[in-house]
């Protein structure tokens, strides 16, 4: 697919050298540039997983659209869920610049040949979960995504810039929702604490396996696709979140969490990586439901895309004959 044709005067080694020099100079790779097959494959995998996460990520919060406690909260939640769809579209668009096909990526998601973030396989049990997702899950996403705005692949970096601008709204609306609940009744405060208890550890898992068990990380960092290691980003998230939890008045469910005065970083307890592996490989609380709903969206709405195609074809023919 990426083999240069013979009429090019440079040979593959020279292309590779040029690619390496571009990366070394921290310049961006653009779609028509020569790139190693591994770079292309890694990007397609990462961008597709990211896109799938945005699309599947509409579901846990979407479940509360018809049960929002006020019109204000409903309007906010609608806008947020719509944003998630938009983020998925920006990312599929970036994946297509690498030669991937959007419909094919969706099929791979539905057939479970490609993954999405483990976090979206947990259920949203109360409206406090909507707030906690905005605060913790979108907060973790921001930690992950801000450095990706400088990713070496131009279209990915540009999509991330657009996404990051919108994530800030997501996080702030969540935190504001939680502040509102914390000013409410004891039962409402208990709901917030319960949601924090359930979402804290899965949020830490969002950064992926620890560095010594993350086989793709080193190469991705060498290629400038990733800019920081999983553990670095996780630490940054914990340090950011602890004072926010204090302000809110909730307890993060980790007895080992404490500030290390020597490093200035918070130390935290062991993450249950068995749970992570179980959930990412299909055995989480809501995996089957998420995929079933995505499949239904594709299949049940196929008639709409077919009708639009038929309409467009008819009108094009009419225009042509006029």
């Amino acid at each position: 697919m990426s083999t240069p044709t013979v009429e090019h005067s440079l040979d593959e080694a020279a292309f590779h050298e040029h690619f390496d020099a571009t990366i070394a100079a921290d310049r961006r790779i653009e779609p028509r540039d020569w790139m190693p097959e591994g770079y292309r494959r890694t990007l397609i995998r990462q961008i597709a997983q990211h896109a799938h996460s945005e699309i599947i990520g509409m579901q846990p919060e979407g479940d509360w659209l018809l049960a929002a406690p006020s019109l204000r909260r409903k309007a906010i939640l609608l806008a947020k869920v719509q944003d998630e769809a938009g983020h998925g579209m920006y990312l599929y668009s970036a994946a297509e610049t690498l030669g991937a096909d959007r419909a094919d990526l969706t099929d791979k998601l539905i057939e479970r040949k490609q993954k999405y973030s483990s976090i979206f396989n947990y259920a949203t049990l109360t409206y406090a979960d909507v707030g906690v997702i905005g605060w913790l899950v979108d907060g973790a996403a921001i930690c992950n995504q801000v450095p990706l705005c400088r990713s070496s692949y131009g279209p990915y970096a540009r999509a991330m810039i657009r996404i990051c601008k919108e994530e800030s709204f997501h996080q702030r609306q969540g935190y504001e929702l939680l502040m509102t609940m914390m000013r409410g009744t004891p039962a409402q405060r208990a709901m917030v604490q319960d949601a924090v208890d359930r979402w804290w550890w899965p949020s830490l898992m969002m950064f992926g396996p620890p560095d010594d068990d993350s086989p793709n990380s080193a190469q991705s960092m060498a290629w400038g696709i990733k800019r920081h290691s999983n553990d670095e980003l996780r630490q940054r998230f914990v340090d950011m979140t602890v004072p926010q939890a204090e302000f809110l008045g909730v307890t993060l469910p980790d007895p080992e969490l404490r500030l290390d005065p020597e490093t200035g970083h918070h130390r935290f307890g062991a993450i249950d990586w068995d749970e992570f592996k179980r959930v990412i490989s299909g055995d989480g609380p809501a995996n089957a439901e998420r995929i079933a709903r995505r499949r239904a969206a594709r299949d049940d709405n196929a008639w709409v895309t077919e009708a639009a195609t038929a309409y467009a074809t008819k009108h094009a023919a009419r225009k042509h004959s006029a």
Partner: protein, 122 residues
């Protein structure tokens, strides 16, 4: 002239430097909705700028989808959509004939001319 002159997904005619292109994978979406490139004018007084791409059944749907996808927060006052297949782009391996001639014409830049510093308003 390269045989491949179409823009690729999400990228329009962005100049891409001296690199040699890979062969484009045909974007044959099973659903046969063509790929559109989207350009948005952020506000009056500035150019339309490429923002991304999308699939739509026809031009009209492409404009509506572009509005929903790329201007949810007043990012634009005007949208252009164009089918990616209709864009003719310069190819990276044409770098020499296309862009090199401007490289040695330094006299086209104002900095080429030495003017004493005490000449006002220059």
């Amino acid at each position: 002239m390269s045989t491949d002159v179409t823009a690729e997904g999400g990228h329009g005619a962005v100049p891409t430097g001296p690199e040699v292109p890979v062969e484009a994978t045909p974007a044959a979406s099973r659903r046969d909705w063509p790929l559109y490139e989207v350009f948005v004018r952020g506000k009056r007084g500035i150019n339309h700028v490429h923002v991304g791409s999308l699939h739509a059944a026809d031009d009209e749907m492409a404009v509506h989808a572009a509005r929903d996808l790329y201007t949810r927060r007043n990012e634009g006052v005007s949208i252009w959509v164009v089918q990616a297949a209709d864009i003719t782009a310069s190819s990276p391996d044409e770098k020499d004939p296309m862009f090199a001639p401007s490289g040695d014409k330094v006299y086209r830049h104002p900095t080429f001319y030495e003017i004493p510093e005490n000449v006002p308003h220059m």
